[in-house]
Amino acid sequence: MSLQREPLIVAFVCNWCAYAGADLAGVSRMQYPPNVRLIRLMCSGRVNEGFILKAFEQGASGVLVSG
């Protein structure tokens, strides 16, 4: 399975902008790779160093913070 070789990206996204953007992409039926896992937050200011390292610890290859 080529999919398993894809890097797993964890994205922390802000409810009010990045998540809305991703949502709009979904509504517009645009495709995005399934190996990005979105985690919605009320504000990207909620993200701290612990979140990012925890994502790496649990197997993420990359972390995206967007907001």
Partner: protein
């Protein structure tokens, strides 16, 4: 491993441990004596399930005064490992970053952790190995306090180069495992220990120098317990420089006439757990123009810096730290009118904790003007200016 130790049976219930405990002063419900009592009546389950077990700062002020010589920090340590097995965890400070980093270091990737050392004469192979420890991580984590714990490592390299030694610094080095050990993560600790010993063995080093007391005692005692005799010697930096004090004295100088007033804070790991009290003081006295004062609670009576192993930082920790800062500023008779008076410590964690507490002090407090400096940074400042970047 069963927690109840034969040694505990010697407890005579004198209560000196609780009376000496800095945490017990702030948390009525915390008492080393009652922990021992619970263990004596075979109630490990009560102890391990209680949050209390994580509140101990393992500063060993109790055990050093215990007439029955009960090693209370070790007992607490064992209870923690049982607690973790039973699914009870501590509250991590700094979002758990310092507990995740060591676990990430166990994976097979090479860190870039010696880039900062390029301005000094260092080697890949050689007789001396300098164990940098967590300083690079601390430096990026504690920018908000405007401190650079990595300057301690820079200072060590300055001093080592000054006495003609080019140490090995390695990208293969990982966390010493002190915090994993003291928060009950034995498995992580052993793996980290194996990685470090292998990295040092590959560098061909015979002597490993430490600037962090935690790393030093972890290698000296806990690595030996876990892995047997180490294929190298370990030495704490202040002891190492003591052996070369005549050379160092010739290099130490002072610009201007002004005296510097300093007081030395004994870190618990170096002092009570290892018995190194004199060499840092002798090194400080070797600097010209230093007026060194002794705090009332010093040497084996020194007060802890408030928290350990990056867990359970609380109002209790802050109270202990404020207490220590005020003691230092009183000792040096500061009146708050001018800058001056340096509180010197030799542990990067004491350095961070005391700086954090000072930042939290109200502006009108005298101790706010206190300077906090690491002993090696202080020494290196008088050998040559180290660059802050």
């Amino acid at each position: 491993m069963k927690i109840t130790d034969e040694q505990i049976a010697y407890c005579m219930e004198c209560g000196v441990c609780t009376g000496s405990c800095p945490v017990a002063r702030h948390y009525e419900e915390f008492s080393p004596r009652s922990i021992i009592k619970q263990l004596l009546i075979d109630r490990e389950d009560v102890v391990t399930r209680d949050r209390i077990i994580w509140r101990c700062v393992t500063c060993a002020r109790c055990s050093i005064r215990c007439p029955a010589l009960i090693d209370i920090p070790q007992i607490v340590n064992r209870c923690r490992s049982e607690a973790r097995k039973a699914g009870y965890y501590p509250e991590p400070s700094h979002h758990g970053v310092f507990h995740i980093i060591p676990r990430l270091q166990l994976r097979d990737f090479l860190q870039d952790r010696v880039g900062w050392a390029s301005q000094w004469r260092v080697r890949r192979q050689g007789e001396y190995f300098y164990f940098v420890g967590c300083a690079p991580y601390f430096s990026s984590m504690f920018r908000y306090l405007q401190i650079r714990p990595l300057n301690i490592s820079r200072a060590i390299l300055t001093l080592l180069n000054a006495v003609g030694i080019e140490p090995v610094v390695s990208n293969r080095e990982v966390c010493c495992g002190h915090d994993a050990l003291w928060t009950g993560e034995e498995e992580t600790f052993v793996k980290l220990a194996q990685k470090n010993v292998e990295a040092i063995r590959r560098s061909g080093a015979e002597v490993v120098i430490f600037s962090c007391p935690e790393g030093y005692i972890t290698f000296k005692h806990h690595y030996t317990e876990a892995l047997g005799k180490l294929p190298f010697q370990v030495i704490y930096a202040s002891e190492f420089f003591m052996e070369r004090i005549d050379l160092l004295k010739r290099l130490l100088s002072r610009d201007g006439e002004e005296l510097e007033r300093v007081t030395y804070h004994d870190p618990c790991r170096l002092g009570r757990l290892e018995g190194i009290y004199d060499s840092p003081r002798i090194l400080l006295d070797a600097v010209p123009g230093v007026e060194r004062m002794e705090m009332e609670r010093s040497r084996e009576n020194a007060l802890c810096c408030g928290t350990s192993a990056w867990i359970e930082c609380s109002s209790c920790s802050k109270s202990i730290q404020f207490d220590r800062l005020e003691e230092a500023s009183d000792t040096m008779a500061l009146d708050g009118s001018e800058e001056g008076g340096i509180l010197i410590t030799s542990c990067p964690k004491c350095y961070i904790h005391l700086n954090c507490a000072r930042a939290a002090l109200p502006e009108d407090r005298v101790a706010k003007k206190l300077q906090i400096e690491d002993i090696y940074v202080f020494l290196a400042r008088h050998v040559t200016e180290i660059q802050d970047k």
